[in-house]
Symmetry: C2
Subunit: 261 residues, 2 copies
DNA sequence: AAGTGGTCTAGACCACTTT
DNA sequence: AAGTGGTCTAGACCACTTC
């Protein structure tokens, strides 16, 4: 049986869990259909951040395809940093809890190359109505509620980044100031663990910027110092925007690092 | 025959061309050995930019492995943008001649999103001795000759980038001012076509910068305007550095764009 | 010993391009 | 029709982890 781009007839239901599932896509290679199905299971939080997903063999039985086809789907998701394969153990949903993950999206590196101690200070936490710009970026309406966070990142005891963060209020209903202050580690880890929201990609726009009086005070630099202004929009599955961020970076002893290929 | 990580016994010689070739690596998966072998053929300019490489079947005969193993090697090189597969035609060495390629390494985008007319003006072309810093970055000695280029990039008739470029003199022996002025299209295309040098990756460091009097004049902005200072080192095969570049970007109507994942 | 992902093979057929 | 890459299968064995 080797049909031209048939559709998976999957009413794939994991026998251990009973929850609704999955529509078959149309006329794409099988491995891409399987990729989509796996993504849908991630999106619906059926498989959560850090969890083990079914083995290749199991999935190939569920989907009624060969192991090689499942493998190709997982291979691509692994190179996209959405899944992580571990030989002998299984395939896991990627997480961002580890120290290492601190720098997945943060591109500011010390010129010295040395690692550094990172502190965070929450300067503000508010719920307010979305401005037109934020609403548009987050795909919200003007009346919708937004969480606004302002924080300062301190590298080796030197304030280095001032960051403003906007989040959709409904997605982070239970998020509070205390919650943020108490949490150790990367904030994206918090989003995953407590709110089941996983950022899978982001886009950034970087511009040169002259520090205003107010900004200079907050970052303890002279007025009119040069700063990087870094605007970021982060997306979860299905390209849904779930965070807007603006950072002001001091680049006297750091640089924004980027690999091109 | 399905041995544990044997070595390819390849004395692979393309019957059509007679040139020396190829050392066998040790105890790595076959497909990685093949990846290395292919890279060596690119590095030695046996297969040149834009050219068709042998088909998967041919390569699998040369290397005495299955087509699937060659396929896996090529798959990875294709996702690294080093090779390009074209169904029905074959596999080609990636090029950077097309318009599109103008933006492979240039991350400055107009805020408007519209495409724009790009002009270039060569402001300086000199041969000189490497400074300590440039020599170190390019892996040269202090006595070695370096080409220094200064040019201005003009987007829609507005000067927007001032760029300084340093190249190893010996690699670009025949490069002249006229050569550069006359050449249309991306400079990396010129390097590939005329000098057989292909940049496969680069790293950039971005910092905020205040325009000096001199720089402001060259870019037609006010003194003390904020600029991005973008330092780039580009590498060819085997991680050999072959270009150092410093760009000053005006970000009043443009931004440095970056995708994170 | 059993289960997982990792590598490799051999063969089939599909989709696309060129002759 | 012939040649290329693209998809899919089935099966073997290796390397690693856990029991």
């Amino acid at each position: 049986m080797n049909p031209p781009y048939q559709n998976i007839d999957s009413n794939f239901t994991d026998p251990n869990i009973s929850s609704p599932l999955i529509i078959s896509p149309i006329f794409k290679p099988l491995y891409q259909q399987i990729k989509t199905l796996i993504m849908q299971n991630l999106q619906s939080n059926r498989w959560k951040s850090g969890e083990l997903i079914p083995s290749e063999i199991e999935l190939s039985h569920y989907f009624k395809v060969s192991q090689g086809t499942v493998r190709k789907a997982i291979d691509e998701l692994a190179t996209e940093n959405i899944l992580v394969r571990r030989q002998g153990k299984g395939t896991f949903v990627a997480t961002h809890h580890e120290r290492h993950a601190q720098f997945r999206f943060l591109r500011l590196m010390p010129d010295s190359g040395k690692s550094q101690i990172i502190d965070k200070k929450i300067a503000k936490f508010k719920r307010l109505h979305a401005t037109a710009e934020i609403a548009s970026l987050l795909g919200l309406k003007l009346v919708d509620s937004v969480i606004y966070i302002r924080r300062i990142m301190i590298f080796d005891n030197v304030p280095t980044i001032l960051e403003e963060i906007w989040l959709p209020g409904t997605l982070f209903e239970t998020l509070t100031h205390e919650y943020l202050v108490d949490y150790e580690g990367p904030i994206y880890g918090l989003f995953e663990t407590r709110f089941g929201i996983c950022m899978i990609r982001a886009v950034e726009q970087v511009r040169a910027f002259i520090a205003s009086t107010n900004l200079a005070k907050l970052l303890s630099v002279k007025k009119s110092s040069p700063l990087l202004c870094v605007d970021r929009v982060s997306f979860t599955y299905s390209d849904r925007p779930v965070e807007v961020r603006r950072g002001f970076y001091i680049t006297n002893h750091h640089h924004y690092h980027n690999k091109l290929s």
